[in-house]
């Protein structure tokens, strides 16, 4: 009996620990959502339920604009870095010129401020207008640093045996990529896309320096609001964004798309 009890205890301790860690990660999120419904102007005391900040949010076009800019930039930066990153991986693995891959570690190693200043000086030097494109360019650099290692790891795992089998069966390189490698690389591509998307949304430095006078991303907007403490409208938009992305994830997981990302098959 005693042994059984001990077993039950040790069986419980792990889920409880993991649960606590999840709680730890979600605490700030819960607080944020809570305060988006708070009457008070400063997120420090609960003063009663109110939808005021949501109402205000939809009357503040800058925030919605900023959110739109963030999403557009993140989307295109993700697509661009995935496409050119995957092309690079294909070429470097098939040509066995792996030595080139190390240069992409720089993207992860450099502090973002250095990258941002660097990109801005190059853009200014060449008189390139700042705006969506400069942001996409900068975020693509960040993205490449993640896409290439992630996709490459998967590619090396698959190659060469499946590539050879496919070529042997009469498929050309293009067909081999489309019909064999791409479906098998898809999990890593989706995973790295999610990563790049997240990083692009969160990035402040490049967004701050390279956005130019006409647009700003949500992260920059949020940062510029810091001085007065976080405006609850920021909480509101974060809550909405969070709700939307949770919904997306629920739908995707219902459609079993996510299993594709997680499984190794």
């Amino acid at each position: 009996m005693i042994k059984d009890g001990k077993n039950r205890f040790s069986r419980l301790i792990q889920p409880v620990f993991v649960g606590m860690i999840y709680l730890f990660l979600y605490l700030p999120i819960i607080v944020m959502v809570l305060f988006s419904f708070n009457k008070s102007r400063i997120s420090v005391r609960w003063e009663g339920f109110s939808l005021y900040w949501y109402q205000k949010l939809f009357q503040t076009p800058e925030i919605l604009d900023a959110l739109r800019v963030s999403l557009v930039v993140a989307f295109f930066a993700t697509v661009l870095s995935v496409v050119i990153g995957t092309l690079f991986v294909v070429a470097s693995v098939w040509k066995k010129s792996d030595y080139m891959s190390w240069i992409f570690y720089g993207n992860i190693l450099l502090p973002e401020i250095v990258m941002a200043i660097g990109i801005l000086s190059i853009f200014t030097f060449f008189q390139i207008p700042l705006g969506y494109l400069s942001l996409i360019t900068g975020h693509t650099i960040i993205g490449l640093g993640f896409v290439i290692p992630v996709v490459r790891a998967r590619f090396v795992e698959l190659d060469p045996i499946l590539t050879e089998a496919s070529l042997d069966l009469g498929a050309t390189y293009g067909q081999t990529f489309r019909k064999v490698l791409f479906p098998l690389l898809l999990p890593s591509i989706v995973a790295s896309s999610l990563l790049v998307f997240t990083l692009s949304l969160d990035d402040f430095m490049i967004a701050f320096f390279c956005s130019g006078p006409k647009i700003q991303t949500l992260s920059v907007y949020v940062y510029s609001m810091i001085k007065g403490g976080v405006d609850p409208t920021i909480n509101a938009i974060s809550a909405i964004f969070l709700a939307l992305s949770s919904l997306l994830i629920l739908i995707l997981s219902y459609l079993k798309v996510l299993d594709l990302v997680v499984s190794n098959e």
């Binding site: 102007r41 420090v44 005391r45 800058e62 006409k214 001085k227 403490g229």
Partner: protein, 373 residues
């Protein structure tokens, strides 16, 4: 000779295609990056791009201006003057049509030739400006800048902590050891302090406390300032702007350095706190509008400036943000409403502007020393 020719030819054969490929890609990338220029060329939208402090140009005002004139205004916000300067330093502020530098920044930008002269004749509301804010050191003839509002730093304290002996807030509340104040019965309990985020403010404030001036500080004096700030660190809770309300309302700090417009917000949450301008003087900041030298939309910008300093908008902003308006009639009205937040005329002389005498490098090295002491 033949050999050399062959090796050259091999080199050429090998690299020729690659150079072509690289060239094509560079063209594509360039086309991609420069494409906005093309759209820009064809668009003749009437618009101005504003780069402003977070709390000085409201979206309400912008909406009204757009409605009145049909000119589109895009605003971006910055937090520190230095961000503005850094951006302008790199790309000469290209694309921005209106900026709001603080006093000392106007001087720096003016000296660096980043600002355009302002045509006063185009500003119908210029006579309404508070004359006390004009002709300051950073722009003696206001050729390059027009004040939009101003702030003063004061001391906010929890009314519970002061004892019967206490009359008027002074800088000693920030710089003297709270234990000493408890012992000498000025305050009745020990407290912690919140200071501002910008180290520059800290250094100048300490100079006012120690020497009553912010000019001609010697190296010895600067070293003393560093000592003072280092000592002060032990009772400082945080050097923050945004966090101050949290720490005050949370009971973590009882005394803080705060600007009068931020105090207004604090007042809205809690009435436990009293705001006073220290009797030994304080720092004031004049926020200005200026026009970057590169803008081509000077006419539109002048319209917008005139709009911003008009009584209606100045009133709107004063109500919204609690800043001291540069429009004299608005300011007087506000003072009449609630004199607590505004310096009295007698105090005005004791308010110091930040200047560029102490280089930022110097400030930073003092600051690093403080934080590492």
């Amino acid at each position: 000779m033949n050999n050399l020719f062959n090796s050259l030819k091999n080199f050429y054969d090998e690299w020729y295609p690659k150079v072509v490929i690289i060239g094509v890609y560079l063209l594509i990338i360039a086309g991609f990056l420069y494409s906005p220029r093309v759209f820009e060329y064809f668009s003749n939208e009437q618009s101005i791009n504003v780069y402003a402090f977070t709390e000085f140009v409201s979206s309400e005002a912008v909406k009204e201006f757009e409605h009145e004139t049909g000119i589109k205004v895009r605003i971006q916000y910055f937090e520190f003057n230095e961000e503005l300067y850094a951006k302008f330093k790199i790309n000469h502020g290209e694309g921005y049509d209106l900026i709001t530098p603080s006093d000392y920044m106007v001087e720096m930008m003016r000296k660096d030739g980043m600002l355009q002269e302002i045509d006063h004749s185009k500003l119908s509301n210029i006579k309404e400006l508070d004359s006390r804010l004009l002709g300051k050191y950073f722009d003696p003839e206001n050729k390059y800048s027009i004040p939009i509002c101003w702030l003063v730093y004061g001391i906010v304290y929890d009314r519970d902590i002061v004892g019967p002996n206490f009359k008027q807030a002074n800088l000693g509340m920030l710089f003297k050891d709270p234990w000493d104040l408890v012992i000498s019965d000025v305050v009745n309990k020990h407290y912690r302090v919140c200071m501002a985020q910008d180290p520059r403010d800290m250094v100048y404030l300490a100079a006012i406390y120690l020497y009553g001036r912010t000019k001609n500080l010697t190296d010895v004096e600067l070293a003393q300032i560093q000592d003072l700030l280092s000592k002060q660190k032990s009772w400082v809770e945080s050097y923050t702007d945004a966090g101050t309300p949290y720490f005050l309302t949370g009971g973590i700090a009882s005394v803080a350095l705060i600007s009068n417009h931020r105090m207004k917000k604090l007042q809205e949450i809690s009435n436990k706190f009293i705001f006073q301008i220290p009797k030994d003087g304080s720092i004031m900041v004049i926020e200005n509008i200026a026009i970057p030298v590169k803008t081509k939309k000077s006419d539109l910008v002048h319209k917008f400036i005139d709009f911003l300093i008009s009584k209606k908008i100045a009133m709107l902003h004063a109500n919204l943000y609690g800043t001291n308006s540069s429009n004299i009639s608005v300011f007087n009205e506000k003072v009449a409403e609630n004199s607590n937040f505004f310096p009295k005329d007698t105090m005005f002389d004791k308010l110091h502007l930040i200047n560029n005498e102490i280089s930022l490098d110097r400030v930073d090295s003092i600051w690093l020393g403080v934080r590492f002491s």
